[in-house]
């Protein structure tokens, strides 16, 4: 099956130009200032799956997480240290949102993977606002629209976290369950951290 056009070379001097650019960038930019990657944990599952990433700076006396309410009613959640999921959960519950929050390290998965018998269809359960409608260029975070969680429903926020040097990179899985969800017990896994059934 010929699915794609024939391969091309980078035209003219573009190979040289792009290489010069990349080499200049890596030579002149201090490592600590390099911007964070868009590395996403592969996400599977039948329910809504929206993945974004953000840089998380460890240490420095900053709060583990911050929740800011935006004028449009959405929230901006910034996670500075991925070590207090239940603290974040309590904050959000204190704001009136019925959610569960779990942090899933690399090499782990939530057990059971099927945490709900009934997920709200994806198109109705996009808790993450992506691309964000608020400016987060200076303080990257997740924009969430938790008002979509209806009475009797439970919002589920799972963050994939990893530690590397001074940063934690996180992806998010967000969905809405029609009813309660099973608690997440972290178990060893070679699958994607945010894989759900």
């Amino acid at each position: 099956m010929n699915v794609f056009p024939d391969e091309r070379d980078l035209s003219g001097g573009r190979h040289r130009d792009l290489k010069e650019f990349v080499m200049a960038e890596i030579q002149t930019r201090p490592r600590r200032n390099l911007l964070r990657p868009m590395i996403l944990a592969p996400v599977l599952g039948v329910a809504a799956a929206a993945a974004v990433v953000l840089p998380l700076v460890l240490g420095g006396g900053t709060p583990a997480h911050a929740v800011e309410k935006n004028p449009d009613g959405t929230l901006t959640v910034t996670i500075n240290e991925a070590n207090d999921p239940k603290g974040l959960e309590a904050n959000l519950r204190g704001m009136g949102y019925d959610v569960v929050v779990d942090f899933v390290p690399q090499g782990k998965q939530c057990s059971p993977r099927k945490r709900s018998d009934s997920w709200v269809p994806r198109e109705q359960s996009k808790l993450t606002v992506f691309p964000p409608t608020v400016d987060m260029s200076d303080d990257p975070g997740y924009q969430l629209d938790l008002a979509k969680i209806g009475p009797g429903q439970t919002g589920v926020l799972m963050f994939a976290v990893g530690k590397e040097d001074r940063y934690v990179v996180a992806g998010i899985w967000a969905g809405i369950s029609n009813g309660p969800v099973a608690p997440c017990e972290l178990v060893d896994s070679d699958g994607a951290p945010l894989e759900v059934d």
């Binding site: 794609f4 573009r14 290489k19 890596i26 990657p37 592969p42 974004v52 990433v53 992506f130 699958g191």
Partner: protein
């Protein structure tokens, strides 16, 4: 010392050699995911910037770095919009293409691309993203199951099942398209002659 080890240790000469060896592969892989040659150039730059930043994750021993690079490229392409914002300063410094050097070649390329796009892109873009990824890696770039699994960070069985599902969808779409194409041939020469 292996190329892997040299890059892991921050050897810029080795990294430059890596760029020379795999820029084309990344460029074409990025096009398959974005459908845009210009965006594919941006993905090339961002992929190698990310690869340099992530170099300490490279295992010192192992085979070609192509699967790993294509995995980075897959994620960069998938997140180009957000990536562009995060890399705003770098993007602003990126060298822009100069005037098209050979208009005829470019036009031929565009026509060929358009025909391919007409035939394929619609079906391809309707695939789920993770199905697009395995098609681009396995069918487009020619990675085997194990390499694609390494690129995507998923088990080999997952690659196999995703590829199987994606192929079935594309084959079904191609069958439907053939029917439509047959009906449309009567007017095609007229369009081409104008």
């Amino acid at each position: 010392m292996t190329t892997r080890a040299r890059i892991r240790d921050g050897d810029q000469q080795a990294f430059g050699d890596l760029f020379d060896e795999f820029a084309k592969a990344v460029y074409n892989h990025a096009y398959r995911l974005t459908g845009d040659w210009s965006a594919a150039e941006d993905v090339v730059s961002l992929t190698f910037l990310e690869a340099w930043r992530l170099r300490e994750r490279i295992e010192p021993e192992g085979g070609s770095l192509r699967p790993w690079l294509l995995g980075v490229a897959t994620n960069v392409a998938r997140n180009l919009r957000r990536s562009a914002r995060r890399h705003r300063d770098a993007m602003a410094r990126m060298p822009r293409p100069e005037a098209v050097p050979d208009f005829a070649d470019e036009l031929i390329g565009r026509v060929a691309d358009a025909q391919h796009l007409d035939d394929v892109r619609e079906a391809f873009v309707r695939l789920r993203e993770h199905e697009q990824d395995v098609i681009a890696l396995c069918v487009g770039t020619g990675l085997d199951y194990a390499e694609a699994a390494e690129a995507l960070g998923v088990p080999v069985g997952t690659v196999r099942s995703r590829l199987s599902r994606a192929r079935k969808k594309l084959e079904l779409a191609a069958t439907r398209r053939q029917v439509r194409g047959d009906r449309g041939t009567a007017v095609r020469p007229v369009k081409e002659s104008t």
